[in-house]
Amino acid sequence: MRFESPATSKEAVALLASEKGHAYILAGGTDLLVRMKMDLIEPDLIVDIKGIPAMQSINASSTGSRIGAAVSGAELGEHNKLKKLWPGVVEATNLIGSDQIQGRCTMVGNLCNASPAADAVPALIAAGAKAVIVGKNKRRTVAVEKIITGPGQTSLARDEVIEAITLPKRAPRSGDAYLRFIPRTEMDIAVVSAGINLTISRGIVTSARVALGAVAATPLLVPGAARAIIGTKLDDGALDKLAAACSRACKPIDDKRGTIEYRTRVAGVLARRAAKIAYQRAGGA
């Protein structure tokens, strides 16, 4: 196995493109090294992207934000400006693992690991985040919900690297929130999760995005759930409709972490709770 730490995204892409064997990108390593330890993968090449300046910074502004792919969860959590603009996105990423994991893990790594239960992803989808992708010949920008195509699978080509995540312009009176259910208080993978981002005007929800995690093969954007609360003051009736729409959208499986029945039911519970938090953050009563 070869270990390389390129200084630019282009170099990283070139390394990936020229590798004949199995190549993997290392950012925080909190998934990659686990898969190596469990003998699930045998890399021939590991490309460490932490030395690439374009991937190391955070720019946060109400006109748009950019988070480098190698930024750790801990660094994200320490960025007050970003936290203020996108509390749900930051909290979601900070929920991944322990303080130790936060010291290394990245939002983009969480995305590219492509788990249906990835904590950062529903919050990013709800936020309308985009991934900036660098390829051999071109750069492209893609909505986060288009990245994961199935458990462990992404739409990235083998010689493509996500350089950063961008978050859109933040309208005034907006708020986001992310909640997940785990059996313990820490250290678990989400059994089911919900991310919500909304904007209000005079107490009425004017726009919203709702995303769910761990209820299907990929994290889901649920437009029907958003429609259930747009135009409402998030009263109980609207919340009931939100919960019902979320539960309807679920296509979960039974596995060691939860049942179909449980996930379907609790998706609605979490969406309802997350919507209330987002609404409050947007300045709603």
């Binding site: 208080t185 596995d255 449980y262």
Partner: protein, 754 residues
């Protein structure tokens, strides 16, 4: 020399204080050496190939490619471990568990092993071993394993304890029965009877340190083993039997142990490491991965238990019975028997009957886990007790007090009790402020009782007085939780010297006589007892030496406060001789000063605990949080109260994990789906509240200081205490452990819809 075991009420000077442990600095600086921390010149890395099948015939193992890989020094299969057990079935089972013999019996069963110059090479070699399996039907559920047509695990297992003896092999390895009186007549007299089936899933001890050892065997048949174990003398005896080595030629050194809780009472890969070393003629280190620990060491049983209890309206139990089915993994065990013995031990019952069925499955061989088998039986019994109390309209605490066992009660497992502590723990619970604390919305309180036997066993101790009067104590029981501190305290107390003047060391098997394992809550109890007698032995010598120094008769010398004092009119004015002064002259008064004792420290004194637990349940998600927890337990005498509290708290925390989230999850393919700490969910720091403790000290009449075992009982009550608290919080009775969020939410749904 005969010793007096009996308790004498004495005033202690240092017993009951809380000094710092002697191994503390090593453990906070990273210096302490655990199982994986030793190295030897030229050591190889050993790895084990494990079956991916729950049950399969091993048709062929081709090791030729692995053997040819440069850097590989030995490849091992069962052919390298011939059966030298002389037909001893128990040893044969251990041998077969260490390395499959023609058949893989569970997912993770060892099939082959390699030793190579480094981990990378060893890993590569494992992949070059080709094993041809023929998969067989498997069974992993305790109730399914005894259905007609279930795959038979061993054709040589015929159910024992059935008359007439069966002629067909069975997955029930034995039937055991305990009790007295006439339960049918008793139930006929009951006003109310509750009968219910309870299930618990399989849990693991979950020690943080994986099994690890460093083995070295030379061509002369001599060997050394450095290993993390609860009993290095037992490991020595078992390994030498399996490998055909002389016991005296295998020196086993116990490393510091990173937790055991019963799981390190048994050999797993240690005989394989020794055999690899013998074949390669190099030291071999084998360290299990966490995944291997879960798949291939010994968890505790999953169970299915029917409990029936009947009572009069006035709260007197008229009869109680239980049928207990315990899954023991791929080899026969006695786990249901222990469940059958302990289930009703807390109560004074005229008519009681328990029947245990030990059942084989395609799962790893079950081994002891803290108060083995008692928590599952207590879950069923203590939950049923609460249901029955509710049915007759009695406070569950009063109901338990009314039926609690006392001195003179015939225990459900047979004998008549001496002085015991169940009632005092219940009374302490009754008077505890926790019982009167206010509860909020969706909160509930539960309590439950627990019992464990405790035992002593073979123990020996050397006590040597150094030239400066300090004392070196050599013991043979592994220190799993601070026992060196407790044992140093005992030596200091008996000799009348400060704690700081005693250093307790755990000896290797070549340096001290045989000691049983640290299990059954025996460490401080039995080694403490041997230490008292060894110290008394040394005091005799010290008196003799003082007498020689003074040139007076030994009868005129008494030992007081760590000094020799001459008595009587003739000698009374002599200045006292300190241990230091006597030690300094030892060379001229007869040589080294030492005390020794070997003892069979029977009679560790049975132990009882009562726990109180408050939970809060989220009715929308089924999530349960323990918000307050109190342990009340009889310790006999708490030698070092910090570490007694630590045992209470640790046991309770393990019980809480078991109650709420921990479980082995098997797929339809018979493979373990959660062999890691991510999905085998032991409690994390933020899951738990502070765990309050109340130590009761009801002296054990058969220990000079009144000590009882304390380590195990505290894991027994939590399952039921939490189940009872959940029932009080949200009105559903959970009959399946772990009481995980999906199970609770389903129970809530079922309750609403019915």
């Amino acid at each position: 020399m005969a010793h007096d075991y009996s308790y004498t009420k004495q005033k202690f000077k240092v017993i009951g204080t809380r000094p710092e442990r002697p191994d503390g600095i090593d453990k906070v600086t990273g210096r302490a050496k655990y199982g994986a921390d030793a190295t030897a010149p030229g050591q190889l890395v050993g790895l084990i190939l494990r079956s991916p099948h729950a049950h399969a015939i091993i048709k062929k193992i081709d090791t030729s490619k692995a053997e040819k890989l440069p850097g590989v020094k030995a490849v091992l299969t069962c052919a390298d471990l011939p059966d030298l057990t002389g037909g001893n079935r128990d040893l044969q089972n251990i041998l077969e568990n260490c390395m499959a013999r023609g058949r893989a019996l569970y997912d993770g069963h060892a099939v082959a092993a390699v030793a190579a110059v480094d981990a990378q090479t060893a890993k590569k070699a494992l992949k070059l071993i080709k094993v041809q399996y023929k998969a067989l039907p498997h069974v992993t559920d305790v109730d399914e394993a005894i259905l007609p047509g279930a795959p038979i695990i061993h054709d040589w297992v015929f159910t024992r304890g059935i008359d007439p003896a069966p002629t067909e092999p069975s997955n029930i390895s034995q039937r055991t029965q305990f009790g007295h009186g006439d339960v049918e007549a008793g139930f006929a007299k009951a006003d109310v009877i509750i009968e219910k089936t309870w299930k618990t899933e399989q849990t693991h001890q979950g020690y943080i340190e994986p099994h690890a050892c460093l083995a070295s065997v030379g061509p002369d048949g001599s060997g050394e083993l450095w290993v993390t174990t609860q009993g290095h003398f037992t490991f020595r005896n078992v390994c030498s039997s399996l490998l055909g080595m002389d016991v005296a030629k295998l020196k086993v050194t116990a490393s510091e142990i990173g937790g055991g809780f019963g799981g390190k009472t048994h050999v797993w890969m240690e005989p394989v490491a020794l055999a690899l070393s013998r074949k390669a003629n190099r030291p071999v280190k084998v360290v299990m991965s966490r995944e291997e620990v879960f798949r291939a060491s010994g968890p505790t049983s999953s169970t299915s238990v029917d409990v029936k209890i009947g009572a009069k309206k006035n709260g007197v139990i008229t009869a109680a019975s239980a049928e207990l089915r315990y899954q023991g993994g791929a080899f026969p065990g006695i786990w249901a028997m222990l469940g059958a013995m302990t289930s009703f031990a807390c109560y004074d019952l005229k008519n009681v009957k328990t029947v245990g069925y030990d059942i084989l499955c395609n799962r790893p061989k079950v081994t002891a886990y803290r108060a083995p088998s008692a928590p599952m039986a207590a879950f069923g019994v203590e939950s049923t007790m609460d249901m029955l109390a509710a049915e007759i309209g009695m406070n569950p605490l009063e109901f338990r007090l009314k039926n609690a066992a006392k001195q003179g009660t015939r225990a459900s497992y047979g004998p008549v009790y001496g002085p015991i502590g169940i009632k005092p723990t219940l009374n302490a619970v009754k008077n505890h402020p926790h019982m009167r604390a206010r509860l909020g919305k969706n909160q509930g309180r539960g309590m439950a009782c627990g019992f464990w036997f405790n035992f002593g066993g073979q123990t020996c101790v050397d006590l040597n007085v150094g030239i400066d009067g300090t004392v070196s104590l050599t013991v043979g029981t592994i220190d799993v939780g601070g026992s060196r501190a407790a044992i140093s305290l005992i030596a200091a107390e008996e000799l009348g010297i400060p704690y700081e003047q005693v250093k307790t060391n755990v000896a290797d098997t070549a340096s001290l006589g045989y000691n049983d394992m640290t299990e059954g809550s025996r460490g401080t109890f039995s080694t403490g007892m041997a230490t008292i007698f060894a110290a008394r032995n040394a005091i005799e010598v010290l008196r003799e030496r003082a007498a020689k120094m003074w040139d007076i008769p030994v009868d005129a010398v008494v030992w007081e406060n760590g000094e020799a004092r001459a008595t009587g009119k003739k000698h009374g004015n002599l200045p006292r001789l300190t241990i230091k002064q006597i030690a300094a002259k030892a060379g001229n008064t007869g040589g080294p000063i030492a005390g020794h004792n070997e003892v069979v420290a029977d009679n560790a004194g049975v132990s009882f605990a009562s726990h109180i637990c408050d939970v809060e349940v989220d009715p929308e998600t089924g999530a349960t949080r323990v918000i307050r927890y109190t342990v009340v337990q009889d310790a006999g005498k708490a030698i070092h109260p910090d570490y007694v509290e630590g045992q209470f708290q640790g046991g309770a925390a393990q019980g809480i994990g078991w109650a709420l989230n921990e479980e082995y999850i098997y797929g339809d393919d018979g493979r373990l789906q959660n062999p890691g700490f991510l999905d085998y969910r032991i409690p994390v720091c933020s899951d738990l509240p502070f765990i309050d403790t109340e130590i009761l000290e009801i002296p054990n009449p058969n220990h000079p200081y009144g000590v009882r075992g304390v380590g195990e009982t505290s894991i027994v009550p939590p399952l039921a205490a939490i189940g009872n608290a959940i029932s009080n919080a949200v009105g559903v009775r959970m009959d399946h452990v772990p009481m995980s969020p999906p199970r609770i939410l389903k129970a809530l749904d079922d309750a609403t819809s019915s």
